[in-house]
Symmetry: C2
Subunit: 326 residues, 2 copies
């Protein structure tokens, strides 16, 4: 509806969520430009947009390039700002690259909007990682922000810039704090996007997958179509500017249950619990699930796909496309 013939820019549009969003927006009649630099360790993959490749413009560039972003941002109606470094471990070993992408580039993008397209509407992909170890559950948007890794700190700044540019300069910006998102087009080469990626890969390659710790840690998951819906709803609403919304799921489950459900959906496979590796233990957040009542109340959003259904669809996708993802 609202996106027919609208000009939409998607940073990280070849990545997991960005490509699913692009596919949906093509259906809705939007005119899409994707920005992606295809850094090998990140989520970008040209196969992700195979089905729409003739219907979108792909601009290969890095959001850290403050000059090209100026031109790309002009005349756009919407910016879905999803490009980011997502690996918690990589942020600890290469904190400066994480800072450049998740913080500095965000400032470049917002400065470009302020100078060249102040009427654009932005939805920024943030993360529940900002909260750190939960002080209470479920975690709502007022929970203290105490990141436990460099990625969480740098995303916190990137997010804050968006709210600041909304409040001070009137650049309409909204923030979604995502939890573990999964579905077709997730990076499954390794655990850089979420541990579910490597679990899926191992399952499909008939290898046992590994749970760190006793597996009783609670997590919540969103299927990517539900997350795409949230991005679209937030973009189209007038009342979301300057606001921060959690996503989440009312049925959080333990890692052991997650693993068992995956094996059940795939009808074979195995997993095992191992002690936490040292580098992960230091930055683990314990149990987590988010309170998404704010977006439910403001926009009527709720996740529609159960984990059982979502993981089945996901595994089917990778059974048919495994070679494009490993």
């Amino acid at each position: 509806m609202g996106f027919k013939n609208k000009k939409v820019l998607i940073t990280g549009g070849l990545g997991f969520i960005g490509s699913n969003l692009s596919i949906k927006l093509v259906e809705l009649g939007a005119k899409i430009t994707i920005i992606d630099s295809l850094i090998p360790e990140y989520g970008g993959n040209l196969k992700n947009i195979e089905s729409i490749k003739d219907k979108v413009a792909v601009n290969f560039s890095d959001v850290r390039d403050e000059f090209s972003i100026k031109w790309l941002i002009k005349d756009q109606d919407y910016l879905f700002n999803l490009a980011g470094q997502t690996s918690h471990i990589d942020s600890m070993t290469n904190p400066f690259q994480d800072l450049e992408i998740n913080t500095k580039a965000q400032l470049s993008i917002l400065e470009a909007c302020r100078k060249h397209n102040p009427n654009i509407k932005i939805v920024f992909a943030s993360t529940r990682q900002l909260y750190g170890k939960p002080q209470y559950l479920p975690v709502d948007e007022n929970h203290p922000i105490i990141p436990v890794d460099i990625n969480g700190i740098n995303k916190m700044s990137g997010e804050s810039y968006h709210i600041l540019y909304n409040n001070v300069y009137g650049i309409n910006s909204s923030v979604l704090r995502l939890t573990n998102t999964y579905g077709p087009r997730l990076r499954i080469k390794d655990a850089r996007q979420t541990f579910l990626g490597i679990w899926i890969r191992n399952l499909l390659e008939d290898k046992p997958f590994l749970i760190f710790g006793d597996g009783k840690q609670i997590r919540d998951y969103n299927y990517v179509d539900d997350v795409v819906d949230a991005f679209l709803l937030v973009a189209l609403s007038d009342k979301t500017s300057g606001k921060i919304y959690n996503l989440g799921n009312e049925a959080p489950i333990s890692l052991n249950t997650t693993a068992a459900l995956m094996v059940e959906a795939y009808k074979k496979g195995a997993y095992k619990n191992i002690p936490f590796p040292e580098d992960r233990k230091n930055i683990d957040i314990g149990d987590f699930y988010g309170d998404y009542n704010k977006i439910k109340k403001d926009l009527g959003w709720s996740p529609k796909i159960t984990f059982e259904e979502g993981i089945e669809r996901t595994l089917k996708y990778y059974e048919n496309n495994l070679n494009d993802y490993i």
Copy 2:
């Protein structure tokens, strides 16, 4: 006592608080290295250390220089990390420079400590600006962090890195969130360090000084000697690592009262209320005063100098040294 023959590095040591801290540490017998790049818009001033110039080593360099910092950090017992861009307005007009100094350089410094001197004890100078507009008064350390300008966001990250490196890597780091600090050696050329700077200058030059708005805004002030004491106490205590402390004053006063007390102390002078300039109105925080009970409880710190006494000492200092500061 505890600083006798200790090796102490002070970033921003030619600045307002850094120089007062250096003077005190010379008294206490510490071996001091100052890092300062004397950026003209910042608080560094060689006249600030006139009285101790033969007793400290001054290394002219920028904390953004990740190579020199490695060498300077080695073998130091303490790091008082005070170098920073402090102007709220400048952070909005030049957000990238603020990011480089208040965020990226902090990461360089902490990486240097991690690799070359993990046993160092760090005290980081943060700011009450992180809190943004108070949601309640007095503002304690658990108050939500919602910065209203770029400086607040970038200082938030710089602060978070210190806590993270304490928690993950065991680099003993503590944070002080300063409120308006004043006293001898404050930059008074303009309002870049606090509005008190330009008020003092105008008063001494027999010009009326300007209060933005109706002057009913509440502020709290700390005299610089009290702030120096807080830095020293935090550095010497074992129980401060990983902790964040507000400073503050139990006698917050309005801007109008502040102005009246200054004129009274100087025994002449005038001020006037004018409407907020547009660029300041957007980032003003309204009333503010901090709750400093946490540092009082942990370390017994309380401010000892009243505003009346402190401003009298300050004005006397500038009467005798005005030419070095304008």
